[in-house]
Amino acid sequence: MLATVVTKTVRDRWKGMAIAGISLAVMLLFGMAVYRDIDLAVYSDLPEAFRSLVNIPKDADVGSLAYGAIYSTYGALTLASLALSMGSASIAGEERNGTLGLLLGNPKSRTHVLVSKATSLVALTALGSLLLWGAGYLAPAVLNVEVGGMHIGALILHMFLIAVFHGFLAMAIGAWTGKAGLASGITAAVMIISLFAVGLLPLVEGLESGAKAFPWYYYEGSSPVLNGVSWGHLAVLFAAIAVLGAVAVAGVNRRDLRDRATGVNLLDRLRSHPMTKKIVDRLAGSMRVSRIWIKTASEHQGLLIGTAYVMFLMMGVMLGPFFNLIKDTLATFTDALPEAVMALVGNGDMGTPEGWYQVETFGMMVPIAFMLVTVAIGARALAGEEERRTMGLLLANPITRRRVVLEKAFAMVVYAVAVAVATFSGVALGSVIGRLGMSMGNIAAATLLGMLVGLVFGALSLALSAATGRSRIAIYSTIGAALTFYILNAFLPLSDSVAGLARWSPFYYYLTSDPLNTGMHWGHGAILLTLAVALVALSVVLFQRRDLRQTG
């Protein structure tokens, strides 16, 4: 039984892990190929504080730059995210699907099931780590690049443990509460917050050691790629994993299993309260089901609220005053920074408020935030209803398939606008509170371009969803495409011979025009808008032509 559950879980999940491992390996190869082309002398004078923030080791050479850029951050984030999704699915996910009861109908204990789920999580994370480890040796060999002095194995070992840690955290929360969404939400928040805390806290005087309170510190705090394995840090991670495992076992054994769950959200609670019932009934009841797009939009409230909250408060308001705290440290970088390095972190001049927000907020987080909501809706819009077998019922009404696609796409736009409002007002407020004097129009321009990039990838996932009826394919392929295009846009301009190719990446039309300093680039905006509209139109055509899937 143990082996059976492990095998099934591994069989269900290995593709995602393999795709992630292979795309990261390709990126590594690619990053190294570009770096080999550029003049490396510029790196030697970098201030140490800056290097630590963007993960460029002191004695930078091609190998360490590629590792710094790709492995430490993207690699660990990807691996940890996959572990996270396995962790939250392991107990809580089966409860949500109503299959846990069936599984436990077999003569095995809950502990048994949990342990086998945990085993497969560890095994798959190990598989991903092995792929990355292999690529770490292969890429330099293929490109004939010298990577002496790099501790690839040490980095991978640290990465493996930080990924397992996040997987177990999600599993423990899921085992304790039975809520898969809650488990992935909290764990993702822990991951992102700790990533930023570990990057930024050491720059604040008096708070340097605060980073040690965050898990990510035990991953890269010791720079394992340069210094080799830090057994002390690994021991901390290992102990945390063991504790989380024990918590998970205790959690799953102590409580009633949930029925095939319907979530209770805030609106539901208000709806059942006599004082608020009447007004909320209108909102949650009749209004929510008055249009397809409103109903679609009502389905991802939690995701929208979470994303908008993070963008407004953490990525917007808080960073304004924070800039004042560390701007002296940041100011010492500015002169020394070569253009090439800036490409890596979003081309911002960290000494100015605009550059600061570009690096911290707009460079990576803004596209991620927009894509979170647009891809969540886009990928599930059509395929989700097919997978849950409600599409047949929906289309039994006198409405065209085109209308269904367009209304779903509209819900996606509404969400993107909501995130845009949150991001814009957060950054604007941060600028006001910190007296940074940034141009409101420019903030709006950068936000708008970010929203359009998000919509391009949302529309891509909608098209994939329309073409295949499979939301997993839509999600994974869109994430793969987005990662590839992001990296292309970041790395290609570093090498003169291939810089022009960056125009093929949608991200090129996002920040290349430096909207935070120069304002809206309407031409770039138009290109992104055209691309998004074309993909939605393609979705309509693809969905109209296809047989609906019959699942279950």
Binding site: R260, V289, T390, G392, L395, A396, L548
Partner: protein, 302 residues
Amino acid sequence: MTDKITIRTDGLTKHYGDVEALVDLDLDVLSGEIFGFLGPNGAGKTTTIRTILDEIRPTSGSASILGMDSHREAVEIRRHIGYVPGDLAMYPNLTGRDTLTYFANLRGGVDWGHVDELAERLDADLTKKVGDLSSGNRQKVGLIQAFMNRPEVLVMDEPSSGLDPLVQREFQTMMREVAAAGSTVFLSSHTLSEVQRVANRVGIIRHGHLIAVEAVASLRSKAIRKVDLYFDSPAEQAVFESVEGVRDVAVENHHVSMSFDGHMETLLKAVSGRYTLVDITTQEADLEEIFLTYYRDEGVTA
């Protein structure tokens, strides 16, 4: 019932790769009739329904409802139909009433008095979230959804799954009422007894082939029954074997069991006067048995 045709399929064929899910299906369903669509699991019932409702597109052939092409005029067709999909799933986070409101909005209005009446007849709870309902109670919401617009054509795929016997009977009454009022009911099922109770005619499908369309009355006379006779004295096998329609006779002292597909009258005549009949029980053979007996050649050759 009139002779106007409500649903027609013309050489309807659907292949999934090499699998022939539906082969050259020609079918006419008349206005105002309840048409039972019978077949074992995997015979092609659902594929037929999904094709005529434009969920999937035929490999060849065509279908029409109310004279409209099932693909080109799909939207117009759906103004006139009520549909209960097989293995019904709905939005778990919506209450029954929200669900019905949603579909009513998409259709452009509904008579809520009628909905409440239907809910009362089926004893359905529309205030609970659909995801919190048992499968039978969820099915009731699906049935109300199909009936609430007083559709001209009702297409239902295994609609009574999960319903308790009392509700099943009420549901059968509802089907008879709408048919009497002129609507057409297309009812797919694998339960012969249910179809026999309500349907006027029955189409039988097997391995993607429509192998027979019969009036229910004639199907019933064909139906094999398992008959058990109990006498007050020991019986002889030979007496029964000579009766038309009797097969597989087994005599065990006072008790005789057999398969029988003739008129009961013939059997009773054969024994009366010879023995004193103490008790008689008959059981309907299941559908599979009827298929094997009557449609073996037609169904399996493809």
